[in-house]
Subunit: 391 residues, 2 copies
């Protein structure tokens, strides 16, 4: 019988794909869209690295084109190891790192490796929408830990202790956070690490935005519980190659070896051109300057957005994001249904946003607004349009 | 508990990875290895396309770097649709095509979509070793159809009809074949298509080598049973970007939509740089000339290898491969254990090959020898070394 496996339906298309499709449609109608919805950077990788790759493309060799080891080329894993030492002061051996075809493959392979049907996984609310379908597909039960704007979206360690059961396999943390821009504070980071050790559970630490920090410091949880942390990373945000699909996972060697195996069976090896590019990027003397310039530009745009919201939408509630790319704005003083408002905003006013209910069961009147995709004057214009639409 | 899912152990590292690792070790010892083991091309993509991509890398835009639709960019799917029309005379709508992160992701996502535990899948013997672990992982039972060198490795349609049961979900066909180089003949192709229609089962048609044809013609089974064929394709062999991970699947829309969903969850989108490159390759006026030149070169190398075997290893049995990259040589007149011989050949004689037992339960005294990785004089030298090692 030509039937298919219905389990596939537990996987869900990213809800932002729908928004992308409407944006494309409106663009074809020559409408000018202000984009606050995109979860990707707007500044390309450093020109020096791009030019270098262009030169390498002229060489008559298979070096850039051949399969690589499934774990990724050693030179890249060594460069990442040095980078983690430089940025976080942590010692991660290259053999504890597996390169993946992006952060999504890192998540998919990690969850396929760790989870068994019936496992419980603690997920924050709000949190990145990408985890739920993968947890459902792997037969895990989601247990929510609700964090609130009033508490700066920091977790409550006692509450987490109370929802841990014998079936708990892992806690998933995203920091800097998507959608809230919260960076986990030092006390909470240590608290989570201790709870993981005490209960013999994993922390899956999604560090996709770890270099996009505007104030404060990124917490490398690996410092406090190296045997309990599986860290998910991507090069989509830094150096800005989301479409090239390159990321990595680090953690205990026995688990990394299995995650490597899943990745080999999923994609055989991580994309080689991207591996060669990022190796050169991480080893270049412009790496730190480039990311500093990018952060300065994004910080400027963030401040423009925050100031515009303050001025135009005075009853909006939000925290000032210390990292990532987003302001998570609660508009409950103006509207009830964020999803309906977001759809309206796009179709009638040509401003693209992502509604809060994609990330939360509680923040139903909110929007996630990216401040990195548009330039300052268009950010101001977009917020002005939102304020009019709210009236 | 920090346990992991033991099901992962059903996935197996590609056995050629071990050979690669020993090759690397010997290379570091400055030993000169003759490579007959590689399943990848040795001629890089056309210089015109590489130079064009180098130019595009200089543009200050996110065009090459951003996420693409999870199904792949429309321009590439349109170019593939036109290419299938040109090469095979078949009409495949771009909406029936999903771009994947290589042939491996195409296989993984297709099998995850189609298979339910307990399904039976008919696999040829010998066949590509990549399928078994994925079938095991998805809980399918493998039913073997043994093809033989005496019958040119063509299937016996009556025998296949006899092993089809109510639980049969699919037949997996690789043509042009890895490891044997056999192209399925017209009668067998039609026979397989009819059997699939009569029994309402899928044919998963792995067409990775469809443009590497030295004599005869590739059979597009889609012609005979469009509703029953899921076709697996890759750009690893043509235009020679195995490490870049780009492939595609075509088939009935309802299945393609699900395979797309699995791929989105696995990797979010196929690698964008490779998509832009292959779109330009397929649309360029040098595409047909390039692949013709590559085929002429590989055919020359194949003939050098065949003639050297004929001269040096006269009791070897083989068919002359009409497609793909390999000669599958049965050495039963000389040795018993192909795996032991292959290991010896590499360690003591520095000639890398792949033993037949990786592909077959029956051809245990055979080797798969790639004729594309080395130049003619080194092919002759390698065969000479093998003949000495056999003594």
């Amino acid at each position: 019988m030509r039937t298919i496996n219905n389990k596939i339906d537990l996987l869900k298309e990213s809800p932002t794909r729908k928004i992308d499709a409407i944006r494309e449609k409106l663009k074809r109608e020559n409408k000018d869209i202000i984009v606050f919805s995109a979860g990707q950077p707007s500044i390309p990788p450093p020109i020096e690295i791009r030019e270098l790759m262009g030169k390498l493309l002229k060489e008559e060799s298979m070096n850039l084109y051949g399969y690589t080891p499934s774990q990724g080329i050693l030179e890249l894993r060594e460069a990442i190891s040095d980078d983690l030492k430089l940025l976080g002061g942590i010692d991660v051996n290259p053999s504890n790192i597996v390169i993946t075809a992006g952060g999504q493959a890192a998540m998919f392979s990690t969850l396929a490796t760790l989870l068994e049907p019936g496992d419980e996984v603690i997920l924050f609310d709000p949190t990145y929408f990408g985890y739920k379908p993968l947890l459902d597909y792997n037969g895990a039960k989601i247990v929510r830990h609700y964090v609130t704007m009033e508490k700066d979206f920091q977790p409550n360690i006692d509450d987490i202790a109370n929802i841990i059961s014998k079936k708990t396999k892992a806690i998933i943390l995203v920091s800097p956070d998507n959608p809230t821009g919260r960076i986990i504070d030092h006390k909470s980071a240590k608290g989570l690490a201790e709870i993981a050790i005490d209960n013999d559970i994993w922390i899956i630490n999604d560090e996709a935005y770890k270099t996009l920090i505007y104030e404060g410091e990124h917490e490398f949880l690996y410092k406090y519980a190296p045997d309990n942390i599986i860290s998910i990373n991507t090069f989509s945000k830094d150096p800005s190659i989301p479409g090239w699909r390159l990321g990595y996972v680090y953690g205990p060697k026995n688990v990394i070896d299995k995650i490597k195996l899943v990745n080999e069976e999923m994609v055989y090896c991580p994309p080689s051109f991207a591996q060669h590019m990022v190796t050169r990027y991480l080893r270049s003397d412009i790496r730190l300057k480039y990311i500093k310039d990018v952060i300065n530009e994004y910080r400027k745009r963030r401040d423009v957005m925050i100031n515009a919201i303050k001025k135009r939408i005075p009853k909006a509630k939000y925290i000032i994001p210390k990292g990532s790319m987003f302001v998570f704005v609660d508009l409950k003083e103006y509207i009830n249904d964020g999803e309906e408002f977001s759809a309206n905003l796009l179709e009638k006013y040509q401003v693209a946003s992502v509604p809060g209910n994609y990330f939360s069961e509680k923040y139903l009147s909110s929007l996630r607004l990216s401040f990195v995709a548009e330039k300052p004057e268009r950010i101001e214009k977009g917020i002005e349009i939102i304020s009019k639409a709210l009236e």
